[in-house]
Symmetry: none
Subunit: 417 residues, 2 copies
């Protein structure tokens, strides 16, 4: 079963936005056994969209289209699809009700809709409408000449919700897809080649129908076992056994046995044990708190914390001593120790994380170059601090620091067992 | 002058990597007046690459290809290009010397090259080699049937260097390029269709060689004017005039006259005036601080703040009164007022932002459903608060709250003028 993804929009072709939708869609499709043959990005141009649709028709069984469904006149996907299928546009009652419901929610009351808003409910007459819970542009599913065409909005969260809630289940129902089982082991703190060397013999003993992929991401590597075909239960058992062998071998770098972010694994672990957490962030500027609080239920574990960018806030909120800052500097073992212990005491949590460093691009010195970071994690019994030297890219330094800090917290938490 | 970008590699089609190269290349091409007609991603498959090349030949004058030039056997771009052009492969002396130089640099001395490394210097005999200063795979420039084909490595920094140093200058020399000018106006707080309605007559009066695009993103819309062709200075002047008309019409929703994030526009404005900022975040959990601190130089403006998830931290760090929390609740005008004024006083900044709300998915009540958010912004003279009702998606509520808060701050700052 082969798919093609067509993304429509001038903003992609002038490089104003990076097309992240396609990679996300490709992952979802692959996870249910649909291979993506091609990804095509075209401009908001009728003839060009028609050509792309015709070419995709030759190559693929499933054609997923994103973008060009907005209410303004540069959005022509819908009209072009109607022309491609040789049908007219009709008003869809459910789509109109959805537009009205969204405007009612936004404005508190339903005032007269603008003409452009009503146009959002017009769809090609041969389509099945897939409601958009997060926006006014409906999704449209077409069965045509033995292929499935699915048109979705280009706004990522609208498309994602639609894919997960409707499109993937419908594709599963429409096609007989091969069996694929994935098992992901999240590791942190070790590089891809180190891990590969460590589990070389296990990897070599994998049967042909089980593949191992290394998916590295700043400071973390996901090891993904994928099994294809045959008897589901036997395959699952075999994958579980390989996962257990790899986990035992890799040891304390293992963070989770599922494809979740490291902070979510920590939240799950702490919530089960009714442990609480606070943070004191300097160079990460709130990024660690943000990672934690994006997850539902984080308030059970997370009390909050300080983003102490200035010396003054390090002193006033965290109780770092003025002489420590001036004697050792804000980026030092002494300061991070006072920060993490200050957070623990002032915010009254069981565990705390503190980071202080030079994210760059400015602020480096010969002794403390850009990328120098001190991280501290602590509970009532123990404070652990560690110095890191990352690179010279600000964004990456922020992300690497956050992952390293979460990894240190994870290791400290695992001492509980 | 039209270009097509072809990216080759299975890793893109399984969604393992996001294709960031294409957006980068598209930006570079647009900046010198080359429009990108299509971006096509295909797998490491000979027949499929040949088809993609033939299709691109129909559409484009310039075909830029990335990926598939590595030394391993799944990299087949070079052989496939030779087949496409009907030529053989020959060893290129300069490319071989480059491979040797790179290995000498890595190892400190030149030991015998592996056969796979030597193969890196084999190129189709009709190409002009573009040396790769950052890697062993040479770039290859082809003049063929009135088109330019350029094959580059997929590793971003190798490709970027090659584009900037060699490809862009060669394209400029080879073609007489038209002028393209973009101007982006960032707006916040109003929807796409509202804006479209408001500037309808201006949009309709645009000449055919100036296009207006709406680029919406949670709570923000970028309006992008693009002008094509002719006399550069006259076009620039005309675009400036339309931008000024749109800006005047849209009024206080306008945040910036360039394509930058809202928090960066605020940082620029505040840095110029030596104003300082702090934050008190509940439901955004550090996201606002993170947005601000990802930008270099933010420490000149931003002191830091509190992530006060719990009642206790709202009291202890921000000085919110216990009775306020119990009488009105954490999500209330009274609480957000005490939070923002507490931040201003305790953190000693000129301006402060505070947010408190129910991000969801749990925690809603009939009177305060999920998505209810109170935002406050303040300076020494004035505190402004506003209630919002967003949706039921946690991530979106966090992002929308952040953008709404930054927009309120922006409006308060503009009162300075």
């Amino acid at each position: 079963m082969q798919a093609e993804i067509i993304t429509i929009g001038d903003e992609i072709l002038i490089g104003q936005v990076v097309d992240t939708n396609s990679a996300w869609i490709a992952q979802k499709l692959n996870s249910v056994g649909i291979r993506v043959k091609q990804i095509t990005s075209v401009s908001d141009d009728k003839e060009h969209i028609l050509t792309a649709l015709k070419e995709a028709h030759q190559r693929a069984d499933i054609i997923l289209i994103t973008g060009g469904l907005g209410p303004t006149k540069d959005d022509i996907t819908k009209k072009t699809l109607a022309e491609y299928f040789g049908v007219g546009l009709v008003e869809n009652k459910a789509a109109l009700a959805n537009v009205e419901a969204i405007f009612r929610r936004i404005r508190g009351t339903l005032t007269e809709l603008l003409e452009v808003n009503k146009l959002q409910a017009m769809v090609p007459e041969n389509c099945e409408v897939i409601l958009n819970r997060n926006g006014t542009a409906p999704g449209m599913w077409f069965n045509y000449d033995g292929r499935v065409y699915m048109s979705m909005p280009g706004v990522p969260h609208e498309m994602m919700y639609m894919m997960e809630e409707a499109v993937i289940p419908k594709l599963k129902a429409a096609f007989s897809l091969p069996h694929i089982i994935h098992h992901t082991i999240l590791t942190a703190g070790e590089g891809e080649s180190y891990l590969a060397e460590k589990i070389k013999d296990i990897e070599e003993s994998l049967p042909s129908y089980i593949k191992l992929a290394y998916l590295p991401k700043l400071g973390q590597v996901r090891l993904r076992l994928s099994g294809y075909g045959g008897d589901g239960a036997a395959l699952q058992k075999e994958i579980d056994q390989f996962a257990a062998r790899i986990t035992e071998r890799v040891g304390k770098s293992v963070v989770a046995q599922e494809d979740i972010p490291i902070e979510k694994a920590i939240l799950n672990f702490m919530a089960e044990r009714e442990l609480t957490l606070s943070t004191a962030e300097s160079c990460t500027g709130g990024y660690i708190s943000h990672l934690i609080t994006q997850h539902p239920g984080s308030s059970k574990v997370f009390f909050g914390g300080a983003v102490s960018y200035s010396y003054e806030l390090k002193e006033s909120i965290l109780g770092v001593k003025n002489e420590t800052l001036w004697q050792y500097g804000a980026v030092s073992e002494q300061t991070v120790t006072e920060m993490v212990e200050g957070a623990l005491m002032n915010f009254k949590s069981d565990y705390a994380i503190a980071v202080t460093g030079i994210a760059g691009p400015d602020g480096g010195t010969p002794e403390k170059p850009v990328g120098t970071v001190w991280i501290g994690v602590a509970n009532k019994e123990k404070t652990v601090t560690k110095k890191f030297l990352f690179g010279n890219k600000r964004q990456q330094n922020i992300e690497r620091t956050a992952i390293a800090a979460l990894n240190m917290l994870n290791i400290l938490l695992k001492e509980l067992k």
